[in-house]
Amino acid sequence: MDLLLQTIINGIMLGSVYAMVALGLTLIFGILEIPNFAHGALYMLGAYVAFFCISSMGASYWFALVISIGVLFFVGMVIERFIYRPFYNQPHISSFIVAVGLILILENGALVLWGADFRRISPPSSSIFNILGITVTSQRLIVIGVVALLIIALHLFIKKTRLGYAIEATSQNRDGAQLMGINTGLVGQATFGLGTALASVAAVLVAPILLISPVMGESVIAMAFVIIILGGMGSFIGAVLGGYIIGLLETMISTFVTSYYAEALIFGVLVAVLAVKPTGLFGKEH
């Protein structure tokens, strides 16, 4: 029973990470209609930026988080404007290949700068809580709590603010939004930055628990794609729900079935679902 509770908490925590990453990915896809393959590498970059702030500049954890968000937001905007945008009027495959180039640069850049070994960020607080008979570190609660707050904040942002409205309009009908006077180019750029920033939040939040390495983005991006394909590419709720569900699923499988092949099994689920319903569970037909 204790093990089950522990697993559930870990599952929700992992799910929070996935939800945040998938949300960023789906936001970007909704507007630009290309899957951002480099998302995992940018997630990784977010963690290393924070690591650099803490280890080389002695910043506090929270300060490093804020810096990481800012840097990644900026990097995301730059990437959209100078690396992806030149290829918009080409077939999608060109964007994919360019993304591969980005991944090579980012992953190996991190490898060169910080080495292949796992790096650690100390959590801001080492308190331990006792919930329902099991011990939970504060960092896990921080991950779950911060992500939940951010999801709510993001939802409000999209529904209640002008920029959020512009984002939603552009993602539903780019030409229509342009006719309404929305600067779709800028909106696209900002959305890319936002999506990237969300990924960095997830990375920094989970870094004290799961450690940092140049390839940390790989399995995360694979899962994120599984999530948004299942939940519907471009769907906010699909990414969030899918994130939590897959996080729980993976943790359950890892703990109770096999720790080695949980990812492969989930990938198998993706294949099975795709074979039956090619647009995912909540998909928009793009």
Partner: protein
Amino acid sequence: MTVKNENKKRLIYGFLILMAVSAPLFITGDYPRHIMVMCGICVISSMGLNLILGYVGQLNLAHGTFFGIGAYATALLIQGLGFSFWVALPVGCLITAILGFLTGLPTLQTKGHYFPIATMCLGISIYYVVARWDALTGGASGLFGLPRPNPIPLPFGREVAFESTVSCYYLVLFFVFLTLLVIARFTRSLVGKRLAAIRGNENLAQSVGINTMRDKVIFLSISTLIAGLAGGLYAAYMGSLMAEQAHFLGSFEMLLNVMIGGVGTLAGPIIGGILLPILTETLHFLGGLRLVVYGILLILIMGFLPQGIAGSLRLATRYYEQRRTAK
């Protein structure tokens, strides 16, 4: 194409074949010859990727993974089941092709981005499976102690052995020619036109009665078979394997090959496949930075020379010819 041009082309091809066959006479020293073998293997793998990417128009981001599958399959058949190389290689290729087929069935159905995404996910998960399945694959430390291919008996009690690097070079070269021949047969036939249709506009291809799904899956299987062939040759030549060989990083390097060489051309993967191992050697001093350079190179190629070297040459000759006939 005028007769004079045809003959000119034949001369060039003949000369290139002669160069390839006689290369070991000019290139001496074990290490350069080793690079030549690696170039050959790289060329084969690149031709496989070029087939699915350049001719069918689908981006298989797990191509390197299929290379690894072929390598491990061949190695395990030799080491675990005691097969001779000459049996293990074709069986390994078949296994890889079947896996490619199974990958293609669910993922090539929907038009759009699912195939690259699915192959990326596949590449990542299979790498982790290979790296962790210690009992089967030796995990992260891999397999070693693979013997070279058994000697081929010849009449009069002689034989062709494969202990030397040069002999392996000729073995690989044989498969390079074979693969090239097969691909050329396809692309120059009406099947090649069909692939051009699928690559150009899948809906339109369907509307003229082309069963696009069938061709996509078949050619993905052929392309992965070729990757598996390259992998099997690699395993037998190197004698050892590590999980790294099944990492999809290999896919990225293959992609760079194909794009630099010229995607969608016959010569492109040959140029790229020769270039990359040489580039890797010369840039070795950069360490990890080398891959950063590759990434930058890939983006630059996409932006400024998307047809690659061979593609640009082809455009240039076409332009030059049209200007001459216009006069």
